[in-house]
């Protein structure tokens, strides 16, 4: 489990104390004034202002802990994406082995992924169609869905600084053996994330959001 570290820092915008759950975080958002802060050496620099944390109906929330196979994780950040027909979140996880991973909650179907080296050049996501094949050095994937989305806002700590809000392509891939991957077109060349579908119960979450009546 990630040990919460608290380097003493104050928000350059409002002066509120900023504490990091994770020592290597690059970006965070001030809980009080919603300033988006990027760490430069020991200082925090305000790079933007968020109107409000993007609303979510997700049962996942910052600080939630859970299991991923034989590892455990803590949710430290959130990136919310919006597409034509809704929103989903990519939650940034600090994993007990020291790595980072992403938990997506689209349609309340959960997937935990990490960035993979494809071993060969990946196609431009905007040229793909459902049913196409994407070959990596380990898998022969089929395109199952294509979504154009942009990020709406962030919360908590992230391993990079967000800036660009342009629309980008997200392509879901499935291999015959059931391996799941996403092609993320927010960068060029695209990034490949691969991992596992998990159920809520498999994650055995602690500190999840509570809903009245459930």
């Amino acid at each position: 489990m990630t040990t919460p570290t608290t380097p003493r820092a104050a928000c350059p915008s409002c002066g509120a104390p900023i504490s990091f759950r994770w020592a290597q975080a690059v970006q965070t958002t001030c809980d009080f004034c919603k300033a988006v802060l990027v760490r430069r050496d020991l200082d925090l620099e305000k790079v933007g202002q968020q109107a409000d944390f993007p609303a979510t109906a997700s049962p996942v929330q910052l600080g939630m802990q859970g299991r991923w196979g034989n590892r455990t994780f803590t949710v430290v950040g959130r990136l919310t994406y919006e597409w034509a027909r809704g929103r989903w979140n990519e939650w940034y996880l600090r994993v007990s082995d020291g790595s980072g991973a992403w938990l997506s909650d689209a349609q309340l179907e959960y997937a935990i992924t990490t960035e993979m080296a494809p071993g060969r050049p990946l196609p431009d996501p905007s040229t793909l169609r459902v049913g196409d094949t994407v070959q990596t050095d380990r898998h022969r994937f089929m395109v199952t869905s294509i979504t154009q989305a942009q990020y709406l806002g962030t919360e908590g700590e992230l391993p990079f600084a967000t800036a660009d809000r342009s629309l980008c392509w997200f392509v879901d891939l499935l291999s015959p053996d059931g391996t799941f991957a996403t092609l993320d077109g927010s960068e060029t060349p695209p990034l490949l994330f691969s991992g596992d579908y998990v159920t809520w119960d498999e994650m055995a979450p602690v500190g999840a959001r509570e809903f009245d009546g459930w």
């Binding site: 109906a57 309340l108 997937a111 499935l174 579908y197 809903f211 009245d212």
Partner: protein, 432 residues
């Protein structure tokens, strides 16, 4: 955003509560039937639709039930209609929501219920069209393809829904499961339903009214006769094993011994002296059968044998007879033959002792002057008649239990695109 959000319908003003706010994409107003954009803060009207014939779902929206041990709220339902040979067939689909576990679906047709999960994360092996689909360790056979139309909608849906939407649906069955493919060969969304009895449904949703006998046989309804038939089939296998064991024992332990062989001549025209007395010979062991074989060289002729088995000690005789009669020739249809040069007679329960066999052949007045014949006497010959009867008797319960299985399968497939499909055996066993 709170998960449950209250709005009012921009079309009719009725209050609308979103149970799955944030995940629902469209919501159909319960009062006026308008389809609204659940992602829009003002619930923009997507489709004005007056409720001409309001349908009352059998599970009212807002009902909480238990599906596979988890609580779900029923938040939406749609009526889906297909047209087959000019006749409308409609079923109801329900959207169930749990804020942690997401969405599960239900369908109901004539009292047949399915609990349905989307298979976005499962790979199906499918060559397209009506070819079988492989998922996990099951093979699903094509049942029906149809254009399905959303004919009525109420409540929330996690996808973009319009009344009148058309979708291609292909159903593949492997009871108790039903795989459904929506869309085209190129872009398909798979879901898998599990047949759920009305009694289970009534218990899951605490709605006793759901426990109503369904009509007809449904595509993935487990065959209720299969369990008994399989039990009888398994028992039959054991009984047949016993049958084979008894057969082997009979073949091994019956002593079958030849006690006499004799070649004789029948001389035509000799009135006396054709009869011979053979033996004596010894019959041993428990009272058992004696079989007398006769083989003569008759050719377009017959020989009748008057026979007597005589107990040498008491002089008691058991009279019996045999006949060999063999004819052949050629006519317009080709070669023909009739009868046999052989005959045998079995005498049962002959006690041990010394015996004589009297053989008196009789024949036609004219014919070959001499006809050779052979007499063989066997003791303790195994009899297999019982085994053939037993085998037939054992098949009766198998037939009686499999007959309703086949009848049920026929009624199932009559509703499919493949009427008259021959049942493939064995039908897949329902999961425990």
């Amino acid at each position: 955003m709170t998960r449950v959000a209250a709005f009012s319908c921009p079309n009719c003003g009725a209050s609308i509560t979103l149970q799955a706010a944030g995940w629902s994409v469209t919501v159909a107003c319960a009062t006026c039937g308008s389809v609204l954009d659940a992602l829009d803060p003002n619930l923009r009207v997507l489709q004005e639709h007056a409720l001409r014939v309001p349908i009352k779902p059998r599970i009212p929206l807002g009902t909480r039930g238990t599906i596979e041990g988890r609580a779900y709220d029923v938040i939406g339902c749609q009526s889906v209609t297909i047209v087959v040979d000019g006749i409308d067939y409609s079923w109801m689909e329900y959207v169930c929501f749990n804020p942690y576990h997401g969405f599960v679906y239900l369908s109901e047709y004539n009292g047949h219920w399915n609990v349905i999960e989307k298979l976005r994360r499962r790979t199906t092996e499918w060559a397209g069209g009506n070819s079988p689909v492989r998922l996990g360790d099951r093979t699903y056979r094509h049942f029906q393809s149809a254009h399905a139309r959303t004919s009525f909608a109420l409540g929330e849906f996690p996808w973009e829904l319009r009344v009148g939407d058309m979708v291609n649906v292909r159903d593949f069955t492997s009871p108790p499961y039903l795989l459904s493919a929506e869309g085209t060969d190129q872009e398909v969304t798979w879901s898998r339903g599990r047949y759920t009895s009305p009694k289970q449904m009534a218990a899951m949703f605490k709605l006793p009214a759901l426990d109503r006998a369904p009509e007809g046989v449904f595509a993935n309804q487990p065959n209720p006769h299969l369990g008994a038939a399989r039990r009888v089939g398994r028992m039959w296998r054991w009984l047949m094993l016993g049958w084979v064991a008894m057969l082997l024992a009979t073949m091994l332990f019956t002593a079958k011994s030849e006690v006499l062989t004799s070649r004789q001549q029948f001389r035509r025209g000799v009135v006396e002296g054709n009869a011979v007395v053979l033996g004596p010979f010894e019959l041993t062991g428990r009272p058992s059968n004696v079989r007398v074989h006769l083989q003569s060289e008759v050719s377009n002729d017959w020989l009748w044998f008057g026979l007597a088995l005589i107990d040498e000690a008491t002089g008691q005789a058991r009279d019996f007879s045999a006949q060999t009669s063999y004819y052949f020739g050629t006519d317009s249809d080709g070669n023909w033959s009739e009868g046999s040069q052989k005959d045998d007679v079995t005498l049962s329960a002959v006690p041990a002792g010394r015996y004589l066999l009297r053989v008196g052949p009789e024949g036609e007045a004219t014919g070959a002057q001499q006809i050779g014949y052979e007499v063989r006497v066997e003791r303790d010959v195994p009899s297999y008649d019982f085994f053939w009867l037993a085998a037939l008797a054992l098949l009766v319960p198998v037939g009686l239990t499999w007959w309703p299985v086949i009848g049920f399968e026929n009624r199932r497939w009559m509703e499919s695109d493949h009427e008259g499909v021959v049942l493939s055996f064995p039908p897949e066993e329902p999961d425990a």
